[in-house]
Symmetry: C2
Amino acid sequence: MDLDPAALLAVAREEAVLGKAEGGVPIGAALFTVDGQLLGRGHNRRVQDDDPSMHAETSAFRNAGRRPHYRDTIMVTTLSPCWYCSGLVRQFTIPHVVIGEAQTFSGGHEWLAEHGVRVTVLDDADCVALMTEFIAQRPELWFEDIGTSS
Amino acid sequence: MDLDPAALLAVAREEAVLGKAEGGVPIGAALFTVDGQLLGRGHNRRVQDDDPSMHAETSAFRNAGRRPHYRDTIMVTTLSPCWYCSGLVRQFTIPHVVIGEAQTFSGGHEWLAEHGVRVTVLDDADCVALMTEFIAQRPELWFEDIGTSS
């Protein structure tokens, strides 16, 4: 059975909207099993927890709790995963990544595909709008979040 | 001024020993400025916090708190960083990684070197002994920590 990627993305997008409402970086993620069970969901917590280590994907991964392996999981994220979060996917052999959009930022998703990860990019207009607005309004926070501020 | 990598490693190794005493995965890390100021130190917290996202490097990174950038920092870790932690180093443009040993596990440090990161591997006997003993005693926990258990 193949799941509907848009339905999975809706959960991650809800997390991004929550993050925005909290004044944080509006990126959300969720970890599902390949048959659609939600294991964990989360959003970037840099602002909320003063925690630079909690990107959306790491937050969802943490909230999924300990597992012996991840070979039956799908990572869903509203934005192309940065190298940090791409490294998470590769290390834990997560076989499939669903990405809301890769227009406003392009991280390591092509590298993941080269290493055998199935990558689905959805070009979701709502995800693009969330990041476009955020980057215009809070560029310094965005650059801090991806480690590129001057 | 070039710092003594062995002196930096001693801090990370103390963290690894703390993690071992707590019954956890005995890997430690510390983030310093290039002139030797300690910004944050930490150890793997999978067991202690039931948190799969807290590897030694991510723990030290978190404990360093928010920073606008990391171009003046050194990540020190007792073990070759896995893809997750190597991705952290690359994303945040940490220019130098000091590694206790890469014998018991080899992660992404060569990839980092290919991408311009200065990599110092020390072949520290105490770090090798910590991991050798741990892997022999708790193989299932080790494989869980690097996502390769069956």
